[in-house]
């Protein structure tokens, strides 16, 4: 669209240009190196991070476990777990999916992929340095920013390169139409470096005085979820749902409303982690209001996705991609509405400071974001290596282990957290009872960790198979529903 008028920019009457399969194959091939490298390292750190999470989960019910080893103390394992799954797994997975989507949607091949390969190596080096820093006791005890001051510049440099390179693709895009996924991708790749730089300058490199730190800390920590992981996850959902079922997104107008309300309200949410904390009342109240307002983008997006899927739910029977993505999209609605309720002070006074919050975090980062990343990888990886997933049954195992594991984990933490919170709130109740109420649920959580790791190991096995045997003998895609193979083979996984 070349018309300069403002109206034309919101004119819906533009269609994406046709993308033929040769061009598409070229673009996909150009992203092969960096995307596979990001995916591979992400899966490795996911396994490591989950292992650390599993050990910390068991340490909380067995405090004597490894208790004389300084680098295995709970207060180091827990931040190591969080940082590995957040920066080792989730960020590279998001970058990989984001790069691939951006290249396809902008219709430009990725140039100079070596730069991104180097960035990926530097990023993972930063993760390794940061992880060692936490384990030897240099962790900063600032949630989501535990990596010591000597690790974060490495990560920032790597990320800045990636971000610039992705934004450049937007600059050189071929299609006049900008699809909804691209809005989210563009915003996410701009927001994250800004977030990361601000938080590191004010909290790690030149720390401001104590009283101001909590606000900046939670502004950052919540926006990593809201303005980085969430947009990438939604971009993937907005791309893969219509792609797999082959029909347009329900409503362009709902997409617009959902995007802008998310941008405006999510960024204000952070202070709801500090309700009652030592901050001026208006800051907390502003975050409470913004958290309730999150109802708007969440319901809008949920309606948009649901109406797109309507009448096509049978596709969940055969498409692994769609099954993971839809699980993630539904979880997004659930976790966001839960977040809205948790921010209401009357309910927050029970759930605050308890395992309930941990359950909420896993619902967001695993049931929503990680599941969408799994789904995206099931679609992307075959197109990069030129082969098909070796075994649909293993994909089915991966899905059910992940789904059951995360539902068990979130359910246990939610119930245990509620009991713990009621005991903490009740004046007549002792502190001891808050521990005793939560303990059986914490054991369940530990068990759910094994189930989740089982699913991850299956996925890692499948991924390694794809890398080792590209162009495998298997000709048809790995669909779940074998009886229906003939008709489905002609469409995407």
């Amino acid at each position: 669209m070349n018309s300069p008028s403002l109206l034309s920019t919101i004119n819906p009457a533009t269609e994406p240009d046709k993308l033929d399969s040769v061009e598409r194959a070229e673009i996909d091939a150009s992203t092969r190196g960096p995307v596979l490298l990001f995916f591979g390292t992400a899966i490795f750190w996911l396994l490591m991070g989950s292992l650390l999470g599993l050990i910390s989960a068991w340490k909380i019910t067995n405090p004597g476990l490894f208790d004389s080893i300084s680098w295995l103390t709970f207060g180091r394992l827990r931040p190591a777990h969080l940082n590995l799954v957040a920066y080792g797994w989730a960020v590279p997975a998001a970058i990989g999916v984001g790069l691939w989507l951006t290249a396809r949607l902008c219709r430009v091949p990725l140039l100079h992929a070596k730069l991104l390969i180097s960035s990926a190596i530097v990023w993972n080096l930063g993760i390794l340095v940061g992880l060692s820093g936490i384990l030897i006791g240099d962790g900063r005890s600032i949630e989501w920013l535990e990596f010591p001051a000597y690790a974060t510049p490495i990560l920032f440099i790597a990320y800045a390169c990636i971000s610039v390179w992705t934004i450049i693709m937007f600059r050189f895009r071929k299609s006049g139409h900008i699809y909804v996924s691209q809005w989210y991708l563009f915003a996410a790749f701009l927001w994250f470096p800004w977030l990361y730089a601000t938080a590191n300058i004010l909290l790690v490199w030149q720390p401001v005085q104590g009283p101001a730190q909590g606000a900046i800390n939670w502004w950052y920590a919540h926006n990593v979820l809201g303005l980085w992981f969430t947009p990438i996850g939604l971009a993937a959902a907005y791309y893969f749902i219509p792609k797999v079922i082959g029909r347009p997104i329900h409503s362009y107008y709902l997409s617009i409303l959902g995007f802008w309300s998310l941008a405006l309200f999510y960024s204000w949410n952070g202070m709801h982690h500090l309700i009652g904390g030592p901050f001026p009342a208006w800051m907390v109240s502003a975050s409470v209001v913004a958290s309730v307002m999150m109802f708007i983008p969440v319901i809008t997006t949920a309606i948009n996705h649901h109406m797109t899927m309507k009448g096509h739910f049978e596709a969940l029977n055969w498409s692994p991609t769609l099954r993971f993505i839809v699980f993630g999209a539904v979880s997004y609605t659930v976790v966001s509405l839960q977040g809205t309720f948790m921010a209401i002070p009357a309910l927050n006074s029970i759930t605050h400071f308890t395992d309930y919050t941990i359950g909420h975090a896993h619902l967001g980062l695993y049931a929503f974001f990680t599941m969408i990343m799994f789904g995206s990888m099931y679609y992307i990886v075959p197109r990069l290596v030129g082969g098909e997933w070796p075994c649909a049954n293993l994909i089915r195992w991966h899905f059910w282990l992940s789904a059951v594991g995360i539902i068990l984990m979130v359910g246990a933490l939610t119930l245990g957290g509620l009991l713990q919170g009621l005991a903490l709130y009740d004046v007549a109740s002792t502190f001891r009872s808050s521990i005793e109420f939560a303990t059986p649920f914490r054991v369940l959580r530990g068990i759910s960790g094994f189930i989740l790791m089982g699913g991850q190991l299956v996925f890692a096995y499948l991924f390694v198979q794809m890398l080792l045997k590209p162009g495998s003998q298997k000709k048809s895609p790995a669909h779940f529903d074998k009886s229906d193979n003939s008709s489905n083979d002609s469409v995407a996984i």
Partner: protein, 209 residues
Amino acid sequence: MNKLPLIFVGIFLTFTSAWIGLVAYPTLNLANVEPIPDEETGGVLPPTTSGMAIAGQKVYASAGCMYCHSQQVRWAPLSTDIAKGLGTRQTVARDYIREKVAFLGTMRTGPDLSNIGVRQTDANWHHLHLFEPRTVTEWSIMPSYRYLYKTQKISGQPSNDAIQGLRGPHAPKPGYEVVPSVDAKALVAYMLSLKKNYKLPESPEPTAK
């Protein structure tokens, strides 16, 4: 929305609004809070802390105490913190001006520590608790911090620093004693310094039940 620059302006402005409210505002208003004079003693509030206590903050961060212990007292009826004896008033910005990192915390897997220096005033108690938490509180789920302590043979006079009254499986054999490392001493000094029982005008104590 087919104009990239317009989208850019939009995502820039929405993000900036929160950046001003939640980053710039606290940086300008909460990062230069001064202590106030204490009319009773002629000192300042909050009181200054010792160098050992400041060193202890680093140990606190390094051991990750913050992941289970909060350091904030909230107002009623939002919370029952004050009724439960965690403090006498809500904690406010000025309470944290001595902290290099404000360990507000988001979990109470263990109890709140805003006023642990008021509740437990005995350094030896803290050492016993850190060395083997279950000798002082049998149902505790806190991990042991034995790696901050050294068991050594008593040569000549027993050390003045040795922990008194150790029991349990990790108690020293006869002729041996357990002494705290510098880190352990700093951590305990920090624990003892955690007292938010002075009065601040911006945080009135609740006057009615």
